[in-house]
């Protein structure tokens, strides 16, 4: 089931990325190398473009939406994981972050590197999360961790093997196959 279909206009997908056909991509979206977008993920570049870096994982029902009023692009770095039903409307996200299940990043916030957002936690609008911050608990308590986050490379490798055999994929509408 490795049939791939071209995606809609304005969506650029790197050749090594795996984007399931059931993922919903709208607007001007650029997906970097080795990314994995699970089915039923929603990436909406409503008011501005979204640039997703390499090695990211976007799980199902995660919403990445660009609602910036001034049309600024949303830049997402490398190695991030957006877990199930997380909502990301941030301005800019660094590297190696983990957005937990049902976490919310409100409009205009900035997340630097190596951060972890726990389940259901939210980062309010305009806030900046420092390097290696951890947000956890029901009250979204912040603290700085000493160790870095484990990279998601093992998960990426596993998913690269599993997903293409069960899903139809989307490929870039412009450029190489």
């Amino acid at each position: 089931m490795t049939a791939s279909a071209p995606a809609a206009e304005g969506i650029t997908i790197a050749p090594t990325a795996i984007v399931c056909r059931d993922a919903i991509l709208e607007g001007n979206v650029t997906i970097g190398d080795n990314c994995i977008i699970h089915p039923l993920a929603i990436i909406r570049a409503k008011s501005g473009p979204i640039l997703i870096g390499a090695n990211n994982i976007v799980e199902e029902r995660a919403i990445i939406e660009n609602r910036n009023t001034d049309g600024k692009p949303m830049v997402i770095g490398d190695g991030n994981t957006f877990e199930v039903q997380s909502q990301c409307r941030a301005l800019c996200i660094g590297r190696n972050n983990v957005m937990g299940v049902r976490s919310e990043l409100e409009d205009g916030c900035v997340v630097l590197d190596d951060c972890t957002l726990g389940v259901g936690c939210r980062v309010v609008a305009g806030q900046t999360l420092d390097v290696r911050s951890v947000v956890f608990g029901s009250d979204s308590v912040h603290r700085i961790a000493a160790d870095g986050v484990l990279a998601n490379t093992t998960q990426l490798e596993l998913l690269r093997v599993l997903l293409p055999s069960y899903h139809y994929l989307q490929k870039s509408s412009t450029g190489a196959k």
Binding site: D22, L40, E60, R61, V119, G137, T154, Y166
Partner: protein
Amino acid sequence: MDLPVVTYEKEEYVETASGNKICKKNTIASNTIFGTQNIIISGKTIIQKDVILRGDLAVIRIGRYCIVQRGTIIRPSLKQFVRKPTMFPVTIGDSVFVEEECVINAAYIGSFVHVGARSVLGRACTIKECCRVLPDSVVSADAVFPPFSTIGGNPARIVGQEPECTENLMVEATTMYYDNFVPSNLPKASFA
């Protein structure tokens, strides 16, 4: 209170030979169940609308008389073994009632468990038999909960003890729910 009769549109559900009733017409996407060859549902189980079952990642085993309500996501999670990382299969026992909008990454949910609405069961956690997970609770990854515990809060802790006859109660509730889950165009039963 006796469980009320819940009707469904006959066209929206598939009824299998073993009595499973699985919704095929969802609102969020055309197909929410992936990897059906890896999903084993024992019989008389109800899978309602918008339930996402990620059988493509690993095997999902669901027992008899289970009810998975609308909007739940059941997804196997990564198990970090040193030699060979794999996706850990999800095993759900018999007579398990999973309410709406839950996110289940658990490795094992025992029989006769009632999972409340909007709860999140973390990666590879183990909920033993006859437990009850309160609504909106967040069970942390790799947690293990002994039988008969009432689990609640974020991070989830044991907040109470379930009655001893939970097994009988869950069997009764799930069989009653299954018997009362009928297509809407059937003639109405006299009093049920």
